[in-house]
Amino acid sequence: MAQNQETKQNPSEPKPCLSGRGITKVFGIGNKATTAVDHVDFDFNEGEFVSIVGESGSGKTTLSKMLLGLISVTEGEVRFQGQPRDISTGAKRREYWKNIQPIFQDPFSSYNMFYKIDAVLDDCLNMRGYRNASKEERTRLKDEACGFVNLKYAELTNKYPFELSGGQMQRLMIARIFLLKPKILMADEPTSMIDACSRATILDMLLKLRDEVNMTVIFITHDIGLAYYISDKVYIMEHGKFVESGPAETVILNPKADYTKRLINDVPKIYEKWDLDTVARK
């Protein structure tokens, strides 16, 4: 993995991988306009595990879609590796997507039900430039990727996505990311539809991706406990704005904003008493 050696940075001087200045998204016009994301600034460094935490409707997913280039940015600038991002044409966009890849919330609707699992992995190999590689070479790569997420390629080949369980599907999604080796992984609530036991496996795999491929992982979640366990840096989002950000330890153990305090208070706990009476009535 010669490529990884080059990109490995001295941890003392973090290099911004994806940054944004004054990013805004407004849906609708006139008096029906809704501001989903309101002038947010951020710098996600290379090899960093970043979490964006907020409740439903706080604009987390809108922000992730803008960063993925799936919807347009109303105002502001996205910078990728120090350069302004250019996705004006289809070819440029495809080039950008080689560097940023998503994992979505619902593994059951992330696959095309008519294609076999092999097709999903073959697509990744084609995108990585293995189009003319021999069959053995391709199988070896696919085997390696499935091995990375504790799946066996020999058992999966010739199967359709609906023959897998939710946890297996989500793990295969991560195998796909391992094949593509993008610079940035955008994980939008990847564990919310999966039971607690497989969740631990998925989280471990995301950490492994970060450590082995030096990937920047942007993890979007509503569960502040997850964010605390897994991330280096946490951004707390309320009504389209970042109300608090910083290292996970600082933000979650000594929260400053009221909103962060409320989010922490809302998660069930086991060592401290869970206060059920202070509920913000919506």
Binding site: C197, A200, I224, Y228, K269, E272, R281, K282
Partner: protein, 345 residues
């Protein structure tokens, strides 16, 4: 000791697939809930939690079939009744059920008050529309739901509000047992807390007498229910009070589940999550011996040959494992026995 609200003895149910294969999703389950108590059921996806919930309300419509065992709700045996009879006489006034997808349970063309009128009509309760409205308004106010909700359509409500409305509607006849199947899994933490709070209010105000709460979120069960029961591959593997189960699990599977807990408290980042390797067995032909044997890191060759029986202590704690408690404690303290590492999966 309160009255026993729900008693289940050796319940067995199966699914018949379209290829005429039998899948034993609930296999020899016995449980008991007293008045004013709540029981949490935890387990992985596909371990039979939801099937147990459907079986308990007597919902035996194809492909689910009843085989044997008794279900007794407050002295009335419902396992002998026909499914249609159960739906008319038991569901709603004796036992209420909140499905996993309660968010989609409301017809978008109907106002919320119509659902309540429907419940009354289905149970042959003679009340005028005015009386129903007054009763519903009182109950909603008591549970902290605004009165406007009654005149709204489902699409106008947020996810958390919809879920709470469904709970309020299904408990309007004050059932004896409430069975909630993952009522908060699709919600964010703030709405989840409101749902939990409402369920606690229902218990405290006596609208429901006992509750079964099904989820895979253990920290939630620890805070909500008195007892926790862990299911694996259609069987109960352990039952104890919430505190015992979280801090001192006996069965290796429960221990594995407790290892996957994540809470935002200091010290969590340091301890490593332990995932259970492998996948649950296929219930079409369950293993002959212990069902957890092939994923258990403490398993011995006897485990896959001999099926363990449920063992019960004096304080009501039960577990299903071939090892004695003392042996298990010893094994946990010493870590894994050499040669039995099954981490590779």
């Amino acid at each position: 000791m309160g009255n026993v609200m729900l008693e289940v003895n050796h319940l067995k149910t199966k699914y018949i697939t379209r290829f005429h294969e039998d899948v034993y999703a609930v296999d020899d389950v016995s449980l008991k809930i007293e008045e004013g108590k709540s029981l949490g059921i935890a387990g992985e996806s596909g371990c039979g939690k939801s099937t147990l919930a459907l079986s308990l309300i007597g919902y035996y419509f194809a492909p689910l079939h009843y085989i044997s065992g008794d279900i007794i709700i407050d002295g009335v045996k419902i396992s002998d009744m026909k499914p249609d009879e159960v739906r008319k006489n038991v569901l709603g006034n004796e036992v209420a059920y909140i499905p996993q997808a309660a968010m989609n349970a409301l017809n978008p063309t109907m106002k919320i008050i119509r659902f309540i009128e429907d419940v009354m009509k289905a149970h042959n309760i003679k009340m005028t529309k005015k009386e129903i409205y007054d009763m519903a308004r009182e109950r909603f106010a008591d549970l902290g739901l605004p009165e406007e909700v009654l005149n709204k359509h489902a699409v106008e409500l947020s996810g958390g509000m919809k879920q709470r409305t469904v709970i309020a509607i299904s408990t309007i006849l004050s059932p004896k047992v409430l069975i909630a199947d993952e009522p908060s899994s699709a919600l964010d933490v703030t709405s989840q807390k409101m749902v939990i709070r409402m369920m606690r209010e229902l218990m405290e105000k006596g609208y429901i007498k006992s509750m079964i709460f099904i989820t895979h979120e253990l920290p939630l069960l620890y805070n909500v229910t008195d007892d926790i029961m862990v299911m694996y591959a259609g069987q109960i593997v352990e039952r104890g009070t919430a505190k015992e189960m979280v801090f001192d699990p006996i069965h290796p599977y429960s221990k594995g589940l407790m290892g996957s807990i994540i809470v935002p408290e200091s010290g969590v980042r340091e301890h490593k999550l332990t995932a259970i390797p492998g996948t649950p067995p296929n219930l079409k032909n369950p293993p002959k011996g212990c069902r957890f044997a092939e994923r258990c890191r403490y398993a011995t060759p006897t485990c896959s040959a001999m099926a363990p029986e449920i063992k019960e202590f004096d304080n009501g704690r039960t577990y299903r494992c071939l090892m004695s408690v003392r042996k298990i404690r010893e094994v946990y303290e010493n870590g894994t026995e050499p040669g039995n590492e099954t981490e590779s999966e």
